[in-house]
Amino acid sequence: MTSTHQIFDISKFKVSCGNCSLAELCLPWGLKLEDINELEKIIKRVRPLQRGDYLFHSGDKFQQVYAVRSGAIKAYRTTEEGNEQILGFYLPGELLGLDAIDTERHVCTTVALETSSFCAVPFNRLEELCQQIPGLQHQIYRLMSRELSSENQSLLLLGKKSAEEKIATFLVNLSSRLHVLGYSATEFRLPMSRQEIGNYLGLTVETVSRIFSRLQKDKLIVIDRKLIKIVNEPLIRSMCTGIKESSAKSQTAAGSQ
């Protein structure tokens, strides 16, 4: 991207994959500089969302995948009874919409939990580009594999664990994902509500609060409103029995899969 302009173009800077701090988690991982430049050409910036704004709805035509740049997103489906079932929470560097490739329609609804921004990648252009850049193709496989693996983790989480193990695993998972983003692994603000945590983990709201209280009483964590401080990390990790690789989702970039 040679330019004769001397004026610094902030919008170009923002969208640049090469400069993005999330590049190692996202599509550009492992690509050569000229390949990243090609990728940047097809990426579009979309309007940032405020809390409660929708990114896409279930049933919407699938046209692009989204990479979270900042904020936090929840994905859910509405059951036949009209209830919301949360499928997952998405943090920066994570991709949304890959599950719609098959049906060409989105199969879940995504909504911002806080002010969030995204990059959008038109899927047909991405497919074309993959044919030219084998490294990109491979990275997409890896990201999809990450999704599959994450789904497996969720099933294990929901099927096998006690309420206490579920919450501990949830916190350790979140901690690891934030750590990969360069944030503190031991002190973070929960972007989601206790109702949403309960919905996701299949626990009642009262149980969620009871377990958090107990973890605090046992001096594993300290809670100040939505701020969580993990004070006994070894112990809380040891509570996540069954799926030791619970942080796998976050460690894809480091090649743990």
Binding site: L190, M192, S193, R194, Q195, E196, I197, V205, E206, V208, S209, F212, S213, Q216, I223, R225, K226, I228
Partner: protein, 463 residues
């Protein structure tokens, strides 16, 4: 913890200013009218979403009084006509319903308080209805483990009232006495016998109320050291768990009813301080612990215990044992503290009615605290409750360097150190026994808004 307290008259005279009492920081003066219904609903939602939402503290303002006490600076409605209570209570019930819809019902009500005015102005049936409605809307404790208190006027209560209040779930009472001296009582239009007070206290003891609190005021007309000493002696005989001795501030321009007080009857500044000195000496000699500001408590009272354990806090009723509640204030002029926000209800019943009819939370002003406010509130609360401040704890909680952040404040505190109010080094502030009575002045150093106002005043004076 400090139990020793030195009364230094020179120092107190030198630092004598009318300053905030820091029942909130920032103080209500900073509340902004742009804070409204939507802000309140939003902050209630945010607190419901916390992994472990805080328990609730409910305050109910019952503004009616059948007679007027001339010293009073409370928001009240003086009327002999008891019928006035019913329409107000109807509105209060509406607010209770509205508020309860904003807060998750697994949030237990740990604290509850009826204040006034005179809460016992309303009839026994009205009391029953009010508590029953509150219970139907919120999750009240029913095992006597909550801290449920009421302000009582012994002239408006008897053993039957106490029995009723006990059956409704109250387990703490706060009695207005002010002074037993007949001349003082006459001068402030509050004639109240020792017998009335004793009857109420006896009944409270019989029903195993956990704490009996008595309010006194010094600086009232006709008061002398000797007369107040006699009152104190009678108070000690009644054996309350807590005693507050408030300073009367004569501000007839702001509080019109105070015009009824003859200024020449007021004790002079020096006499007032002598009264205060006697209060402190006498109460500590009688085994009461000085909690802070104007509060004393028996060493086994929960307030003294909370102070020992470092969990004491300050709220709109003074000192309190529950630091971690979200406070919902209901009724006219009531103040709420939910999440990082303060808000206050409208003062007039007409406005109250209009807001409720429109389905809006009846607040007219409030404030969302920013990081600096939260930090300063933490500092002020620590100082006013515990008379000492450990910088490291504050630094860990607010991610600042104390000595850098409060560079200007520290230089002012160094002046106070020279005056003997406190000691300060690079790690902590410790209020000295002589500084305890001036802890408000020490807190005021950290009050950004007060200092801004003072700077503006100085500026306009010098120009």
């Amino acid at each position: 913890m400090i139990n020793s307290l030195i009364f230094n008259k020179d120092l107190i005279t030198r630092y004598d200013t009318l300053g905030p009492r820091y029942t909130s920081y920032p103080t209500a003066v900073q509340f902004d009218e742009s804070f409204g219904h939507d802000n309140f609903v939003e902050i209630a939602r945010v607190t419901n979403e916390e992994p472990v939402p805080r328990q609730l503290s409910l305050y109910f303002h019952l503004p009616f009084c059948s007679t007027v006490c001339y010293y009073c600076a409370c928001n009240k409605i003086v009327t002999k006509n008891r019928a006035h209570a019913a329409p107000y209570l109807k509105l209060l019930h509406e607010e209770i319903t509205m508020q309860s819809n904003l807060f998750d019902h697994d949030r237990v009500v740990e604290q509850l308080h009826w204040g006034g005015g005179t809460p016992t102005f309303i009839s026994h049936d009205q009391m029953r209805d009010l508590m029953a409605h509150t219970r139907s809307c919120f999750s009240l404790r029913d095992d006597d483990s909550g801290e449920y208190s009421i302000e009582l006027d012994p002239r408006e209560a008897n053993a039957k009232t106490i029995a009723l209040l006990h059956s409704l779930g109250f387990n703490r009472i706060s009695l207005g006495v002010q002074d037993f001296d007949p001349d003082v009582q006459k001068a402030v239009n509050r004639i109240q016998t020792i017998e009335e007070t004793l009857t109420v206290i006896k009944a409270a003891r019989k029903h195993a109320f956990k704490s009996v609190h008595i309010d006194l005021i010094y600086g009232l007309p006709k008061q002398t050291v000797e007369s107040f000493a006699r009152t104190l002696q009678k108070i000690i005989d009644l054996g309350p768990d807590r005693i507050s001795v408030f300073n009367y501030a004569h501000l007839p321009r702001r509080f019109k009813v105070q015009k009824q007080i003859n200024k020449s009857d007021l004790p002079g500044a020096s006499e007032k301080l002598n009264i205060l000195q006697h209060v402190i000496n006498y109460l500590t000699q009688e085994g009461y612990t000085y909690i802070g500001m104007d509060h004393f408590a028996r060493p086994d009272d929960e307030l003294a215990i909370a102070q020992k354990q470092g969990t004491l806090t300050r709220n709109f009723q003074g000192y309190s044992t529950h630091a971690n509640c979200d406070i919902i204030g209901m009724g006219i002029s009531a103040i709420s503290k939910v999440g990082d926000c303060y808000s206050q209800n409208v003062y007039e019943i007409d406005d109250y009615e209009k807001a409720l009819a429109a389905g809006r939370v009846p607040i007219f002003r409030g404030l969302k605290l920013d990081g600096d406010d939260l930090l300063r509130r933490d500092v002020i609360t620590q100082l006013i409750c515990h008379f000492s401040l450990d910088f490291e704890q504050i630094e860990a909680r607010h991610r600042i360097n104390f000595n850098d952040y409060f560079y200007n404040e520290i230089s002012i505190l160094k002046g106070m150190e020279r005056d003997g109010l406190l000691s300060i080094d690079t790690e902590k502030i410790k209020v000295s026994p002589a500084g305890c009575l001036l802890v408000r002045n020490i807190c005021a150093v950290f009050d950004k808004y007060l200092r801004q106002a003072q700077a503006e005043q100085t500026f306009s004076k010098t120009i």
